[in-house]
């Protein structure tokens, strides 16, 4: 009987061991090896005219979002969620927050700077990024699995998803949440902590 209980508990413990976060996005099998798509490298200015590129992100996880400053519906909620995540993770020094503005026409760097100041962020790792043209908006947002299209019928003039995305140190997408949904954001926070505590990553 005792043996059975020990055996049973072992099975349960092994089965219940938490799996690591999957790598999301497109993948290819080449010669028996799997290659996962990565988010693109880029060189962009943030609200302080600092260049953010692959060097600035080396060794960091990052959390990404897409927004525009005059957004009336989705973005305020997404920004609240981003602030919440930043607050919950403020004791970590290996994570950056990147919010890409999809309104290259109106969201100039001075405008992003004003938005940033009013957002009341304290962390130096939080960047609002200026995308210089429409093709950059399209190519970058696509790689982050996010829609960002000009649409005169949409509120604010842009049709965009409100995803918040988690990217690991190898530029792989690992988790995401609908930034307007509190429950999803709570779940994403758990995923972020799980990833960051994984020994192999």
């Amino acid at each position: 009987m005792k043996l059975f209980i020990i055996f049973f508990l072992t099975i349960v413990l092994v089965a219940c061991k938490e799996k690591s976060l999957p790598i999301l996005g497109h993948r290819q099998e080449i010669n028996g090896q799997t290659f996962y798509s990565k988010v693109p490298t880029f060189q962009l200015f943030d609200q302080d005219s600092l260049v953010i590129d692959s060097n600035s992100l080396a060794g960091y996880y990052h959390i990404a979002c897409f927004f525009f400053s005059s957004c009336p519906t989705i973005c305020p909620k997404v920004m609240r969620s981003m602030k919440h995540l930043e607050n919950e993770l403020k004791n970590r020094n290996d994570i950056q927050y990147l919010c890409f503005s999809i309104d290259h026409k109106r969201d100039s760097i001075p405008r992003l700077k004003e938005y940033y100041q009013r957002l009341g962020i304290e962390s130096k790792q939080f960047h609002l990024l200026h995308l210089p043209n429409q093709s950059d908006v399209k190519s970058i947002s696509e790689k982050y699995m996010s829609t960002a299209l000009e649409d005169p019928d949409a509120p604010g003039g842009f049709d965009h998803s409100g995803w918040i995305l988690l990217v690991d140190k190898d530029r792989h997408l690992r988790a995401y949440a609908n930034g307007t949904d509190e429950q999803e954001v709570k779940r994403l926070l758990k995923d972020i902590k799980k990833l960051m505590n994984e020994k192999t990553n």
């Binding site: 400053s69 005059s70 009336p72 519906t73 989705i74 305020p76 909620k77 920004m79 609240r80 602030k83 004003e114 938005y115 100041q117 009013r118 957002l119 009341g120 509120p155 307007t180």
Partner: protein, 133 residues
């Protein structure tokens, strides 16, 4: 034994429904608020940092009471005390929508005398264009 229970039951139903009444009156205003206003101004009208103002400063609201219908309907272009961007307009709101919306927020926070439809209609005739979009 059954009679007193019946009376108690009727009394409880009466109390339950009568206590519901004030909340139900502003159900439409609540829906309007949550659909258009809450994402920036917050579900408790608490605002968000220095980007979107809180609506909780009752003294400011009271002193601008007759401008509120114009501001909500036509939006605000000029900067008020603080606020990052223009407030979008809600041109499709009828005077009745404005009354419901403002009275909902009023019941939540400001506790002024509720707006009447006549008052809102009168206020809307005095909107000054340079303030609006």
């Amino acid at each position: 034994m059954k009679k007193p229970i019946k009376y108690i039951f009727i009394l409880m139903v009466f109390l339950a429904t009568s206590c519901q009444m004030p909340v139900l009156t502003y159900k439409e205003g609540k829906q309007l608020y949550e659909m258009r206003c809450a994402s920036c101004h917050g579900y408790q009208a608490e605002g968000f940092e220095k980007l979107y103002p809180s609506l909780q400063d009752s003294s400011y609201i009271v002193s601008h009471r007759d401008q509120l219908p114009c501001w909500v309907k036509h939006g605000i272009r000029k900067k008020l005390r603080h606020g990052f961007t223009e407030m979008p307009s809600n041109e499709d709101y009828t005077p009745s929508d404005l009354a419901n919306l403002l009275n909902y927020i009023n019941s939540m926070i400001w506790h002024m005398k509720p707006y009447t439809l006549i008052e809102i209609e009168s206020d809307l005739t005095k909107c000054s264009p340079e303030e609006n979009l």
